[in-house]
């Protein structure tokens, strides 16, 4: 299993943390380190055969884009073939990951509404039906409850379906199947059946899509035992998480965001996956730990620019893994900065931030110098009017104010 981690020549001792789910005979390095150096980090890529490459020049190293806010792409002239890797938009990255996995394992199939001939409502499955045929890329009728159930039934026999909800909110109709059958069958059968499904789809607040199409389901699914939840935020981790989710034996729910599909990034040419249980260090810092995921990462980074100008040094972590939380990375950060701000798009009540606050308080209370602050969306249905919609979601200005408040 390949992992992505940052090595800046740090002399930290290499130890495998007890809570990682690596094949311990493959990975030698602990991917989680705390950073005291504020530098533009460069990635080293651990390939799936366990070979670590610390030389960024020899292979396609990925430079961390720490201020990817808007969808501004590199101009075509600059992104010539002199740089290694290839540029992709986020939905193309998802498609590439899916295609590579379907090629690699004939048991992988995709089912969802309009995924086949139409190419996917967000083009994530474009071209797959032509390439793999109607039996592997299945257009379902509008029947979430039953096709999610069918995907789970097929997974019980060993197939690996990727079930797409056209919008995450529609998966509420399949909640019974996801909770009872997807999450619990492995346990209630005494370990006889595994359910290696991937349930994915776009969610989150879009551009004036209305209340029913702007739902954040991660808060509803988070208590279901037996499932894993991850949220992607960049093309790089979108492809990596998609591939890792398909290869995982556990059922994984992959949360995408409607507004992030057009982000552009340069991806390595070679095969890589992202660790499903790991958080991503976006910007190392000293003064405050900001935990975020999905689209709010970009609001945070925008706020970070303002904060840097004001003299603050925030550490930004994209938690990526919503269930289980990567308490190792988060803990190390809390131990360094002693202040935590959580910025999420979930509702305040019962959201991911609420659970994360509880988890950090339980585990790291002694390291906190200030109460944890959690910025979430308002507990209201998302209104249609643009001005109102803006106010329900956390904006960069509020993040700046919150950091100033915490760091007093």
């Amino acid at each position: 299993m390949a992992a992505i981690f940052q090595g800046v020549g740090a002399a930290a001792p290499l130890s495998s943390s007890p809570s990682n789910s690596f094949d311990s005979n493959k990975s030698v390095f602990s991917p989680r380190r705390s950073f005291s150096v504020r530098k533009r980090a460069s990635f080293a890529v651990v390939r799936s055969d366990g070979i670590v490459n610390l030389n960024p020049k020899g292979r396609s190293a990925q430079r961390l884009i720490s201020n990817a806010v808007a969808t501004k792409a590199d101009s075509p002239a600059a992104s010539s073939s002199s740089k290694p890797g290839h540029e992709l938009l986020l939905f193309e990255a998802l498609q590439e990951g899916l295609e590579e996995e379907m090629e690699r394992d004939p048991r992988v199939c995709v089912m969802g509404e309009d995924v086949g001939h139409y190419g996917g409502s967000y083009k994530v499955t474009k071209g797959l039906a032509k390439r793999f045929g109607d039996l592997r890329v299945l257009d379902t009728p509008i029947a979430e409850n039953s096709f999610t159930g069918m995907g789970i039934g097929a997974a019980m026999t060993g197939l690996r379906p990727v079930i797409e909800g056209m919008n995450m909110g529609f998966l509420l109709l399949a909640f019974n199947q996801i909770s009872n059958n997807c999450g619990m069958l492995h346990y209630t059968s005494g370990g006889q059946f595994t359910i290696p499904v991937v349930i994915r789809g776009p969610g989150g607040v879009g551009r004036q899509l209305g209340a029913e199409h702007s739902q954040r389901l991660e808060s509803y699914f988070q208590s279901i035992p037996g499932i894993q939840m991850v949220a992607c935020s960049t093309p790089y981790n979108a492809k990596g998480l998609m591939k890792a989710a398909i290869r995982s034996e556990n059922p994984v729910i992959l949360f995408e965001h409607v507004l992030l599909y057009n982000l552009k990034e340069r991806l390595p040419d070679e095969d890589y996956i992202c660790n499903l249980e790991e958080a991503e260090m976006v910007r190392p810092g000293e003064h405050v730990t900001i935990l975020t995921y999905s689209r709010m990462r970009y609001h945070v980074m925008q706020a970070a620019k303002t904060l840097v100008n004001k003299g603050y040094d925030p550490e930004v972590i994209d938690i990526r893994s919503l269930k289980p939380f990567d308490l190792h990375t988060i803990g190390n950060s809390v131990k360094k900065t002693h202040r935590v701000l959580i910025v999420e798009e979930c509702m305040r009540t019962g959201g991911i931030g609420a659970s994360l606050t509880a988890a950090i308080t339980e585990n790291f209370n002694d390291y906190l110098d200030a109460p944890i602050m959690c910025l979430s969306s308002q507990d209201v249905p998302t209104p249609y009017a643009g001005t109102l919609e803006e106010v329900t979601v956390v904006q960069p200005a509020q993040i700046v104010t919150a950091v100033e408040q915490i760091c007093q």
């Binding site: 789910s21 097929a154 019980m156 059968s189 006889q192 359910i195």
Partner: protein, 394 residues
Amino acid sequence: MALSYLRSSSSRSANLLRPLSSAASLRRPISTDTTPITIETSVPFTSHQCEAPSRSVETNPSELLTFFRDMALMRRMEIAADSLYKAKLIRGFCHLYDGQEAVAVGMEAAITKKDCIITAYRDHCTFVGRGGTLLEVFAELMGRQAGCSKGKGGSMHFYKKDSNFYGGHGIVGAQVPLGCGLAFAQKYSKDESVTFALYGDGAANQGQLFEALNISALWDLPAILVCENNHYGMGTAEWRAAKSPAYYKRGDYVPGLKVDGMDALAVKQACKFAKEHALKNGPIILEMDTYRYHGHSMSDPGSTYRTRDEISGIRQERDPIERVRKLVLSHDLATEKELKDIEKEVRKEVDDAIAQAKESPMPEPSELFSNVYAKGLGAESFGADRKEVRATLA
């Protein structure tokens, strides 16, 4: 060897059974005899959008005696479960299948272990039919380690992966999309087998059933939906729950067949027909007209919504075990005494299994945290006192 034609009646008296040949004096060894016998089912099949199969069923003495033995075993097992529940060794929900044994037994006779079966919570006998042992049944019911789901599933969660028995589901109707998913996987891997997705008359009104049926018909999946119509959805009679209680017709564009579910041979014929049909033409619905003697579950006396006369009437006229017993006796395949001996044997088997299951220990506390994930993530779980209860979710 003469083939004797017999009309086995359901509602008429037993005296109509008259052997045509004088084969009574020629007693052949009974347990392995495979001389074909043709028997007519109690009632003809009613069909919807398809040609009904013939009423004459091919069987043989060995099969009939296997039917008798298996059904007697299942009956005894369920009655023993009743006593165990009243003795508070089985807790929670316990849904008993006595009266419906013919469906489980007839289905097994028509298919192989490569075909998949998935059913709802009334699954004890179906599990045994698929090859589950009595020990696994009773241990699971009592929550012991030797149970088929290691004691963590309970009455409603019996599974047997190696003989393609997919359970065992508590939520009404949710197993039908799963069953169509199994059929999809069979079509995907092209292994010429079918899936029987069983549900009840109560579940027949679930929307997800029609969704799954639509998809199965659209994609030509080898799915056979079997409605075990015991006429009561817990306490609600079928005519109070369904505008159209002709469940075999509810598939509309999907063909259906109505079968006397108390006649094991009719069930066998119908399942054989359905398997051939599904492999060629896609889904088909079978409605098994059957009856349960117990209430919906152990907490339901079963007599508040139906009369005792009705229950005892069915027991006298349509009981599946009695039907096979009469067939066996009238064909001189065994004597009264031999059948009684089989019942005694079966009773002893059940008692032994219960004794053995009682010895099996409860699951270890660490089992609470195992099998949550297929591959452990290192997520930690702890109780009020972190030092005392602290485990990694495996």
